[in-house]
């Protein structure tokens, strides 16, 4: 796969934007700023997905990550208190020795990963003897076969179609398991995020703990179903 022309330009713009936004995510003092930078990083990566002809995954990335997960993150950031961090009183990183050790580890990881990408990619090139221009020409003929859009100015890809087809043909059991996983996640997060009040009214508190809590906060006794 080789991008060229405007695709290459947009590749570098979005690739560098993703990396810079990722760095700012890690370094921003305010957690809300971190979330915003993470959103821009995710959108840039979605643009890279479009460049790699995975339009469906790019759409899912924006809908699920930016529209769902990041909104959840922002809600939680605003539920818990981050005021001290904004005012600059508290340190945002761990203590000095831990940060030094982990940065050294990360630099080693950078070296190792880039080295292995280089070695692996040259091995892959040796394996795949077809010259890149021939591959690009084949891709161009495949692209010609796509249907024209209504305006006639662009082509309609069949990425979503082929992905959906393969998902049901080869991965239908994992697909069902994933839906069960999502169900478990919904129920689990609702269970975890309940307040003590809600737990008492659902009669879901250990009696010993409940006795202590009622001693501290007498109005809890009114909520308990058995006491009525």
């Amino acid at each position: 796969m080789t991008l060229s022309g405007y695709e290459a330009l947009f590749f570098w713009i979005f690739g560098l934007a993703a990396i810079f936004a990722g760095l700012l995510t890690v370094m921003a003092r305010n957690a809300v700023h971190s979330a915003m930078f993470l959103i821009s990083s995710l959108v840039s990566v979605a643009a890279l997905f479009v460049l790699a002809r995975a339009e469906f995954i790019a759409g899912v990335q924006i809908l699920v990550y930016v529209g769902g997960v990041m909104v959840l993150f922002l809600f939680v950031i605003m539920l818990v208190n981050v005021g001290a961090e904004e005012r600059g009183r508290d340190e945002i990183f761990n203590n000095q020795r831990q940060v030094t050790a982990s940065l050294i580890f990360c630099f080693l990881l950078v070296g190792g990963v880039l080295y292995s990408v280089n070695r692996g990619y040259s091995g892959l090139q040796a394996l795949n003897q077809t010259p890149p221009d021939v591959l690009a020409a084949q891709q161009a003929t495949r692209d010609q076969a796509y249907a024209k859009s209504a305006t006639g100015s662009s082509k309609i890809t069949n990425d979503s179609q082929s992905l959906g087809g393969s998902l049901y043909r080869y991965a239908s059991l994992p697909f069902e398991i994933a839906s069960v996983l999502l169900l478990v996640a919904i129920i689990g997060s609702v269970m975890l995020a309940r307040t003590l009040r809600q737990e008492v009214s659902a009669d879901d508190v250990d009696p010993e703990v409940l006795k202590d809590e009622i001693a501290r906060e007498p109005e809890l006794a009114k909520l308990e179903p058995r006491s009525e």
């Binding site: 796969m1 080789t2 060229s4 290459a8 570098w12 690739g15 990396i19 990722g22 995510t25 890690v26 957690a31 971190s34 993470l38 995710l42 990566v45 890279l48 997905f49 790699a52 002809r53 995975a54 469906f56 995954i57 899912v60 990550y65 997960v69 959840l72 993150f73 539920l79 818990v80 981050v82 508290d90 340190e91 945002i92 990183f93 761990n94 203590n95 982990s102 940065l103 990360c106 950078v110 070296g111 990963v113 880039l114 280089n118 990619y121 892959l124 690009a136 084949q138 992905l163 998902l167 991965a171 994933a178 996983l181 478990v184 996640a185 997060s189 269970m191 975890l192 995020a193 307040t195």
Partner: protein
Amino acid sequence: MLSFFNSTLALLFQEAERGRFEQMRHAAANPDLSKFLVIGALLFIIGVAGVLTRRNIIVIFMSIELILNAANLNFIAFSRYLSQAGSMNAVAGQIFAVFVIVVAAAEAAIGLGIVIALYRNKDTIWVDEIDLLKW
């Protein structure tokens, strides 16, 4: 040591017969699979650095999202590479990416539920103050 750096730099200068600037220009104008992998690797390492260095547990979760996203970028890049090589299983990478996104969404929901429960009980989101399991 020098050969190590040379092979790392050779990623940028992939065609040996031209001048160095010309090689760089050509490699930059035609980004291929390795450039996608390098960007994925850098995003992954930024995420690892965030997990290891930050104190705010929510930012740690965001760094984990960054790591999963870097993995997705690799899956998609390889899927594209295989589809251009004419492989029949080229969509497999995209299928994996779908499942990674599903697991990331579930993980974020559960993790943030835990964060809220933790904040209610311990009144803190700094990971160095959450040390009940620390020996």
